[in-house]
């Protein structure tokens, strides 16, 4: 039928359009990062590394980059630790208020990031703790926690309890069982969770912008500031470098664990 053929063609067109759009976005940034001129003449006529030199030669950008990496790493550890423990308890124990706590931990996802950032700003300001680096870590942890939680919880509920029971019959206490048997068996989820927590913290702008001070800036905050002044391929260079890191993380995750684990965590 002709209508069917037209419909199919149109749909295929939409699919290609959408996927291209998704791929195109980071690619354009990458191309811009290699452009030779300051003025964004698109597409660029030749390749140049000057913007990368600019980025790596800029102490303030570099330091923001380092701060971002450092904080994101801390947040990754914090969210994995807290998130794993919380999801284990919810997966294995029966107790009143389980649903409530589950909802509480996942709440920050539906919560507007801007609102959370502002709330934290207001909170820290009124309590006098403003401009402490710990604020950033706390804010980013709260953002990252739900992602870790949503990867770990199905891992634990899906883990056959007989392994842990067998371990206990062999003489291992609950704690020993947790470290010797349970955790090794959910290794892949732990890795996926860590990556998601790291990414959430590293890329965050909406919450971080409320909590940084002029001396301590994260990379996203600084880059956004530059962007408001106009197009500058140095931003592209920094962003491309970041994307590279994300790709590496993605590949690592895929090799060890597989994409599905990440998907479980990122899904709404």
């Amino acid at each position: 039928m002709l209508t069917e053929k037209i419909a199919k063609a149109f749909v295929t067109f939409l699919i290609i359009l959408t996927l291209s759009l998704l791929i195109l976005i980071p690619v354009i940034v990458a191309i811009d990062a290699f452009s030779p001129t300051a003025y964004s003449n698109f597409p660029p006529s030749s390749l140049s590394f000057r913007w990368f030199e600019n980025f790596f030669g800029n102490p303030s950008l570099l330091s923001s980059f380092q701060i971002s990496i450092f904080f994101a790493a801390i947040v990754a550890v914090a969210t994995v630790t807290i998130g794993t423990l919380a999801s284990y308890v919810i997966a294995r124990y029966q107790f009143k208020g389980k649903k409530l706590i589950d909802a509480l931990i996942q709440a920050p996802i539906v919560f507007p990031g801007v609102a959370l950032g502002n709330a934290l700003l207001v909170f820290f300001y009124s309590s006098g703790f403003y401009y402490h680096p710990a604020m950033l870590i706390i804010g980013q942890t709260i953002i990252g926690l739900p992602y870790v939680f949503r990867v770990m919880l199905p891992s634990f509920t899906g883990l056959n309890q007989s392994f842990e029971e067998a371990s206990m019959t062999l003489g291992a206490s609950r704690v020993e069982t947790f470290f010797r048997v349970t955790l090794p068996l959910v290794k892949s989820a732990l890795l996926a969770g860590a990556i998601l927590g790291f990414a959430a913290a590293f890329n965050d702008y909406a919450v971080s912008v409320f909590l940084v001070d002029p001396t301590i800036q994260t990379l996203p905050v600084q880059l956004m500031g530059l962007m408001q002044a106009g197009v500058d391929p140095t931003i592209a260079a920094a962003a491309t470098f970041t994307v590279l890191i994300m790709i590496v993380l993605l590949v690592v995750c895929e090799k060890i664990v597989g994409i599905d684990k990440l998907m479980t965590g990122v899904k709404y």
Binding site: N160, M168, T169, L170, G171, R174
Partner: protein, 354 residues
Amino acid sequence: MFDLELKAIVKQYGKVLAVDELTLSVNSGELLTLLGPSGCGKTTVLRSIAGLEKPDKGEIFIKGKLVNDTPVYKRNIGLVFQNYALFPHLTVFENLAFGLKIRKIPTPEIKERVKKHLELIRLPEIQDRYPHQLSGGQQQRVALIRSVIIEPTLLLLDEPLSNLDLKLRVQMRVELTKIQKEVGITTIFVTHDQGEAMSMSDRVVVMDAGKIKQIGAPREIYDHPQNRFVAEFIGESNVFNGKIIEKNQFETKIKTNGDLTLVALNSEKKTQDNVCVTVRPEAVKLSKQAPPSKNVAQGNVEAIENLGPYIKYHLRLNDDSKITANISYSKNTLAYKMGELVYAYWEPGECTLI
């Protein structure tokens, strides 16, 4: 002193009473089987002994010590799971060494024990393999010795053979019993498979709906079921309801509801008592002519099942009740045809009165 004692164990899950005032004692070195249909509570009892379930009421004593509040990992029991639960991330050696490492046994001794136990199950070469690289039967045996190697007070087995195919299952029955006797450990076995229970156990505990229906040696349970459930659950039974009309010191005469007169040996029941008479189908013989027996019933062959080593004849008797006879098959045996009128007969000694 008994190795294991259960006193009035009660366990309820919501509205369901899984275990109902269960009391049991197990002797040292014995292989005791909990046998019953799904949902009869046997697994709940086993898990309570292990400490994985806590009974609502009742006491559990292991070697005389009350263990109700002792956590699982302090009870020193070995539990073999139905799905084996071998740790997938550890090699066979590490699986076996697991319990020993926890007990802080020195490495040379661990190596020694693992070697000895692998020889016990005749798999000396598989130390470095991972569970997913083993066959079902191999996994089962490794799971077994993983629990035995820690030298527990009790060995508990939760339907360990149900995941194996038939031939392997039968093979493993013999091997399990052999290992158990060799190691000498008190063992509690849970199964719904009669064949396993009968062939392996020193004693069988028949359970239904959370209660014990009968305890005894396999032969005892088979020959002398004490109630209707056991009579029908263990093996097959032809069942007749009736009343005792006459008895003397040698024989008891029963008139069934279907108007048959049956004769059983002496029993403790009295005249006018309502009884259930059960006869095993393998005790029922068939003949074309009226046989000289005290228990005779006449009927038509309604169905024939050719089951290999024997043929099962379903007869509909004159009073419309049914009887089955398992006739051993060999090439010379006389075969009966569908619809044929035959006599079924059996010795008084084959009747059990319940």
